[in-house]
Symmetry: C2
Subunit: 305 residues, 2 copies
Amino acid sequence: MEITFLGTGAGLPSKERNVTAVALSMLQELNEVWLFDCGEATQHQLLHTKIKPGKINKIFISHMHGDHIYGLPGFLSSRSFQAGADRPLTIYGPEGSKEFIQAALKLSYTHLTYPLTVIEIKEGLLFETEAIEVYAKKLVHGVPSFGFRIVEKDKPGELLVDKLKEKGVRPGPVYGEIKEKPSVTLEDGTIIYRSDFIGSPKKGRVISILGDTTYQAAHKEFVKNSDLLIHEATFAADKEALAEDYFHSTNIQAAKIALDAGCKQLILTHISSRYQFSDMDAFLEETKEVFLNTSIAGDFSVFQL
Amino acid sequence: MEITFLGTGAGLPSKERNVTAVALSMLQELNEVWLFDCGEATQHQLLHTKIKPGKINKIFISHMHGDHIYGLPGFLSSRSFQAGADRPLTIYGPEGSKEFIQAALKLSYTHLTYPLTVIEIKEGLLFETEAIEVYAKKLVHGVPSFGFRIVEKDKPGELLVDKLKEKGVRPGPVYGEIKEKPSVTLEDGTIIYRSDFIGSPKKGRVISILGDTTYQAAHKEFVKNSDLLIHEATFAADKEALAEDYFHSTNIQAAKIALDAGCKQLILTHISSRYQFSDMDAFLEETKEVFLNTSIAGDFSVFQL
Ligand SMILES: [Zn+2]
Ligand SMILES: [Zn+2]
């Protein structure tokens, strides 16, 4: 999995940071790329990455504020002219998503070349596939705002082929049988116990990506034990009152959630334009005092997981 | 007057050109800046110019294609947070403009800090002030698309103060009288004829800015004798059939209009991303064979008039 930040600012674009969008590439795992929020000029930002719009097949919208959705009409339209443009796209967003997209496309005489589905979401399990589950939770932001928890399912261990060969069991249909059944009796009478020839299961990863929100201790339950938590940090610690007034969080509040929820890694984004790049060292140091494994995202920051 | 091109590409943003927007600064003349079209990320482009969003008090939308309007919601929202944010803004656009803007603002919970008026336009005189007239004309683009003709009114000549002083007429209320009346008799009986003491009137300038359009000889009437014609040139001359299929123009067609209409200067914009910057020398040379005083706009090109 690879996470690319396409916009890491709050409210307005600045010369340093575009408005919000994050891409989660799961090309190796699922041959899919998911987008979380789509602020204005997200399609422009993508031009400077290796992510192909046609590979993006799911978009999650945390909330309907302009800095998180105004890039949708342009992204959707332009995707019709790019490689993979026949690939279906599903958007998961709050109430109003459908009307917003339909109005923008209709009034601009836009006809997409691919099937588009817009699903207006509620709290709970959004969907489940063989490999993954995605959950949504309502946050607190003055308008409906959601967080997303992406849970990769554990993968059963691999068959220990070398160990079987050592034991003299030659490749063939029997390998499949060993993988399926608790035990298999070979023609010579030997009993093979699966547990002896299967590696340990591969633990699925958990990524939590929260939309704009004020601090709520209760959020820790939703992001519990995440391998990665992506959390907004519009303000530094000394602006806690301001953060509360505007339904946003400080770096320290984000760090507290990460700590209390037992997360492994925290990435801060949605940084107010009152802060310059030159303020970021202090911003980060302050956060690390509460949660050590913290990074601050910049536009085009890429993280591997 | 100063013209700043904020986006000069066609259809999709590219690394070289953003989608369409042109700013006409008349700060000295009217203390106003007008915007023509507002493609996605126009507010981002403005960050790299000296134009203040709060100074923009009129926006003209040529047509409702996404590459000309998707930057509106973001521009309108962000303007609320900038200097001059209480200044009224009027948008002149085709049918659908009102619904597009209302839907985007409503569904994103956006409350502007300034009075916004959206006027859906028809052909003819859009408005007239003491200093200026603006006309609209329907072009041919598959969807309603307009061209705009901005006509600065002629200014009466200035009083020739030095000449009056030479003649022994001293500054005072009589100067106003001389300016107002065809002739004035001074106390000593001298008759002053206005025509002798007024400089020549300052001819108003005419700027024509056309939206996307296919070639129509009839357009020359609308842009007649323009000091400056801004015309789309999506394709080069050898793609005339393609231009017609997609309701666009070639560089040569734009040049023919400029020539036949007796325009003084032609600036080409809305260049397809099939052309690179490195193709522009040939593109321009070809155009100049028909109309010599031609330029090709790039993003952030500035022209004085
Ligand atoms: Zn936001
Ligand atoms: Zn266009």
